[in-house]
Symmetry: D4
Subunit: 248 residues, 8 copies
């Protein structure tokens, strides 16, 4: 609750305004002044170093402005998602930014120490799913998680997946990323005993219908503990995985 | 080519009709008299003992009539699909029929010796898929195939499937039957080196959309050698598997 | 790894079989004997008291048989989902079962003490979503979680939801259940700082298309930390929530 | 009813034609001559200053021609929608036009004084929805409405929306514009007591399916007073809002 | 803002509590106490006599309980939608209710005088659309509107519609209800100069896909001033029409 | 143009009313009085003996009433579509009606002599399509057409279709009726040189999606001269075929 | 039936080959030699002057080759559909071709005299539908039909359509072309007494889904005599209209 | 089973490690070491000369690297699918590669002798389907099959297909490739007595919906022995056909 409300109450207490005046003043306060905005403050506190900028549709100048503002607020690490090459180039001229072309992610500041309760496995069905996977993995790392990458372990070559059964069973969360038939989530969901976040990708052609096939497949998973995010939503999966891996 | 054509030609040769008469006569012959109908005859010969009646929408009397007619043609084994209990009961009063309630299949006559080049594995993801699986299995058996049933080996419990890896790898064809996410076809397709016929089933709820989810998943299989038939089409899968298992 | 492998190795060590014999024997072992089946054992151990039976499509006798078998294995609490009235009545004749008509859930044995790291909020948009919500809530309770129910807090009457902002912000997981436009998940996702499991329901008519509208809405949530399970899948949400609430 | 009919009747009265001739003549008149075309005249009169040109697919020359023709008819303000940059540039060479790049709207003449019964709020879920919002807002302004813009007040940050609850509750109509999950319409519909026109946008990716998700969500709104126009149809919403705001 | 807040402020003014106490107390108040709940109160006041009960899924006893409670609150007219025959029969035993079988609507109390600014036309394409139309018409009447019914004026017999062009052009709102191809909304939208609320119905077969065809058709209307509600949502259309017809 | 208009004109001619009065009177006439209703009269005249009642959703009493009214208007033959057994039984008690259970069609009066320019072939892919086919065939016959039925000539047994190539090539219109893959329309369209009206049926299961598969297949026909009506719309096909067969 | 068959029969008659030889020879003849290919010859004869080349995906050289070949066969008029500007330019260097940019149609030779039984009306809802309309109109003209164009007569401005009611009622076939809500076909179908061929177009945006909305709307037309061709299929509609207009 | 396992067992036999050590060692072995990887080895052995590289999304350098590695492994023939012109050009600079522009296939090494049990027919509906067909045909040839190409034999010109009935009936497998209505698979399925692999293509426009129409049509085929692969999946069909043609 910010100072305005407190000031109002003090004024009331001091007899400078009437109860009716105070009622009116409180009623007119924007919602966030009334305490519900603690939601956001709470979030900032918990996440500590990392803040996120959605880069798509913003000019490099706008992004630089937000970075400056965040730095002044003490944010130590900034994650920029869906950032194009040319945006990144311009930003890098005046700002120290690490840019990963595969995932289209830019990072300003240091990636923090992993402080989650365990590791997050990011697994993909094929190599074409890697851009989405890296978006998930970097998002998780920037939020303080140890990430283990198991790429190209699709169910059509089961031995590749099974040779990593130990990493899978040690994970606190698994992010299963696949296009086409999306079977990876179910198979992993049957192997592990932790939450599995399934990310359908738009990889495929024909009857994959832009990721619809993988999406439906994952929603119908007969394995317990599997839930699904939007097609190609690597960021959402990485962020949710970090949440789960930071329970306390 | 039937006798009418031969008669026409003989009449021409014997000078009883002119060339123009013969041209006209041949032109007026129905298509099947012209030799293309060998398609059907060929089929009957090869399939030997087994003929199929689609039971749905037929009265018991109609079915009995067809059975009689087939028996007179020397058909040794008759498969009746989509046959209801009450139809079967009435038929059984005047005809020696074996009826399987699960698959809704009735069989008249003996199941022939298996004479395929190997075995057909019929695998299901869950127990609810068994009616479709039995339709496939009995169809294959009636057409002279050895069938191995692997039921409830869904991908969420991979060890159940993998404990049968030997039967799978010995098969000449595998029929993979699953609803929900339909991942079974891809996993089996990755394990075996023979054709996999995928049958999506309408088992499931919500986003399974009556089998659409499993159908799309199977069509997008990243494993080679997998093809798909219609939702719940156990008969089609069993018939095609028998075709493949009888190559010569 | 079971005794058969150990016996084989002992026999090798004892010189009773050759290395080649041992290789062959190991190769022939079913998969679960080779250690990977620890998956299931692990799961049993962790889950302790609670096991789940999917009641749909099973006869009361089959369910009673599974209950007996589970009890012999030392299972203290058994959850039976999708159980019909008449099934429950027959089961209750020979077995002490608590049956909840709303959620169609039966429970054998005691609901364990809540031992999760916090509480799980189960929120619904309307009263018609309650059957799915109770399936989720009872599933979570049976697996040792404290559950807070916030029913009929749909977004069209925002004050009802906001009056419970404290319970929401205290939760370790929120299950947001809604049909029709499914907006509840996004609104809650914006308020809280914990994972939100969204469950679309088939409640609605017309353009709700059996839950499709709510499903798509939830998948497109612009709030971070939201993931989605299948339409009407209360059990899946409750089970996943328990997993997240038991991280350690 | 135009002069031709009147002439016919006069001729009949004057005895120059017979009743049968008159019947025939009337029957042959095109429909608009018979009075029904008043529809359009009525519309022109009411809308007074503003006429609309749909710019897409027209050459700058065609648009200029229509503008000229309208000006001659006494139209004071002309709204041109879906106008591209290059079209606008050419038009501006010979015509005084205000062009707004965001909404792709061109305006010739003055925006009239607001004469509606109250204000129209145009609210968007995100910043990417602003082009559609500006199309709606400018359309409403050109038709004589006071417009209040509340942009980027999506439901995932409820406090932003709620801090504007006074503007919302003062509005006579609200246009709620959102892509992705489209929840904004329901939340606003629950807050206000006036008609809400929901505009789904094609903003989003993956399972937003080009605006389908938002569209279905809005159609299923559980809030009363909400109706929906086509995806990205800012013009339609602004026009309808003006209609409602000009009831008399 | 209710008395609790006022009491708190008075206590602060009286020096009975500190500013910190007051801040805490205000923060803990449920949302509706803070003034935002005026939304609902506002609605009640404006709507005066009429309140709505959604009858589907409620027992007659539950409905009776709500009726009693509403009557005590001074509600003069109660509209019950989606009420079945048998529910209505039981309710009518202890409560004076008018029940309309076609629309499945029950009304308790008197229908108020029409006090809108004009008339509402409810038009249908065919006779099968009448149940939805009556739901809309009765809803509008119960909320104080004069309703003109134009049933069975589908576009395939244009003269039927055009013979009512005067009623249409006099209306302040038109509700256009149609299944199958849903063209009625566009044709009426082109004739009139007032808002048209389009209601697609599930009337039809085959490619009508449960109302989807009419829904899409109405969303794509090329006539200005048309907006759409959910399939078969007569209540929503009637309620919105009343809102528009009561602008002041 | 009815007497009211003529009376008005006579009154004008007689000097009893002014031109202004006449203009007003004409403007106020309902649309059908102005001559456009000739549409319907024209239709009645041309169709001569046959009128159509859509039986679904009408009581036997309502149908009897319409029959009486039509008979008084001199209609010789009445076609009643979508008529249920029990409706037909009641009607037959007081009215001489021929009822065909397969097509659910009732006919009152005599089927007229065929007076079209040629024959209409009605072809079906399977026996399950016959109810739709009979609706088409009887509709065509009642409107004065010679109909040739070719049932169960689906493309999977091409010789059956080709043995009727002469009837097909003699036809003036072919109605091709099929469910499942709907290939019949394309194959016939390639054989014949007359318009082919394709009727998809809801026959099938799984991925036939209630006729959608056949519908799309027919719309994509690569044969020229093929057009499509709604799923199961036998009446529409029969009526259109009669139109084409009566060109003059 | 070609000479090969006749030669075979003559040889048989002459005793040069045996009956068995003749049977074998006939069996081996390609299908078209057996008389069924009269289909194509028949078509060529009837269509006289006009042949069609589908230009898409063909090189100018390939098209020129086909034109040469057709000219040698005596074809007087050649219609080339889906022809691009650049293709047309190259073709026009060595061949006298009329190219219409709007419809992307090229015509070689003279458009024949109209010899149909009446006129064909081609009507469009908007100006954006004109390319499809011109494809239909030119196709019809090239096949010997008088075509009347009624463009931009969409149902949202009914008087424009109704002012042409005479042309419509005189037509032997109407082609109704519309995108968006596709209502034009139903309205025209209700006005006229001749076959209406509905052509949905991909004109529109948002929920028009590439023409799906118009397609469904047209398939569900409640007007009799309406049938539908594929989205944007102007050629198919023009060709079918010509068929109907040339019945004899 | 590789040497590590064998070494472990030898060490156990030699008394160098204990049984417990051996259990642990075996448990830790990656899955492929345990014998299940024979799947892959088996595949390599059987396929002999041919290995496959999926070219899409790989750089020429990556492809060259894989080619080198395969050659060192003794692979005689390498098939590269979905290879672009520019990729092929770069590869051809340092590697002897045959590139087929139509199918976008590159082949390194010799195409082996055909050693299947019979021939594979690859049939297409139109000329636009040829790229998919060539992908299928070359895939089959590279895996040792005799391929017969029947292109442009669509069902709208049945005589073209039927003139090749002998090649069809001699085939051991037929690959039926078609877009638009996809009827080819059913017609061929009715003619032949061998497995038919149906490949829907994305050829078409409007209601073909990118191949969906052909896909559904093929899934609903009423001919036995037909199964379906993904849209445009020529490789999958060719590979499966080779499997079936190499049964032994």
């Amino acid at each position: 609750m910010n100072n305005d409300i407190r000031d109002t109450l003090q004024a009331l207490k001091d007899g400078k305004i009437t109860v009716d005046d105070a009622v009116l003043a409180i009623k007119k306060q924007p919602f966030e002044d009334l305490g519900y905005a603690k939601v956001d403050h709470h979030r900032k506190i918990r996440q500590g170093a990392a803040e996120v900028i959605y880069g798509a549709g913003k000019t490099p100048q706008q992004i630089l402005g937000i970075i400056d503002s965040m730095k002044k607020d003490g944010v130590k690490t900034i994650l920029i998602t869906r950032l194009q090459d040319d945006q990144a180039n311009i930003i890098s001229e005046t700002c120290d930014i690490k840019y990963d072309q595969t995932s289209r992610i830019g990072i300003v500041g240091e990636i923090p120490e992993a402080d989650g309760i365990g590791s997050i496995v990011v697994a993909t069905g094929g190599t074409s799913d890697i851009p989405v996977a890296e978006e998930a993995a970097l998002t998780a790392e920037v939020h303080g998680n140890k990430v283990i990458r198991l790429y190209d372990v699709g169910v059509a070559g089961l031995h590749r997946l099974l040779s990593h059964v130990d990493e899978l069973m040690d994970a606190k969360v698994v992010i299963a990323i696949a296009g086409m038939e999306g079977a990876l989530a179910s198979v992993i969901g049957g192997l592990v005993d932790c939450p599995v976040i399934a990310v359908p990708t738009s990889v495929g052609y024909g009857a994959s219908f832009g990721g619809l096939s993988a999406l439906l497949s994952m929603l119908n998973s007969c394995a317990s503990g599997v839930s699904v995010v939007n097609i190609d939503n690597g960021f959402g999966a990485g962020y949710l995985a970090s949440m789960i891996n930071h329970r306390y």
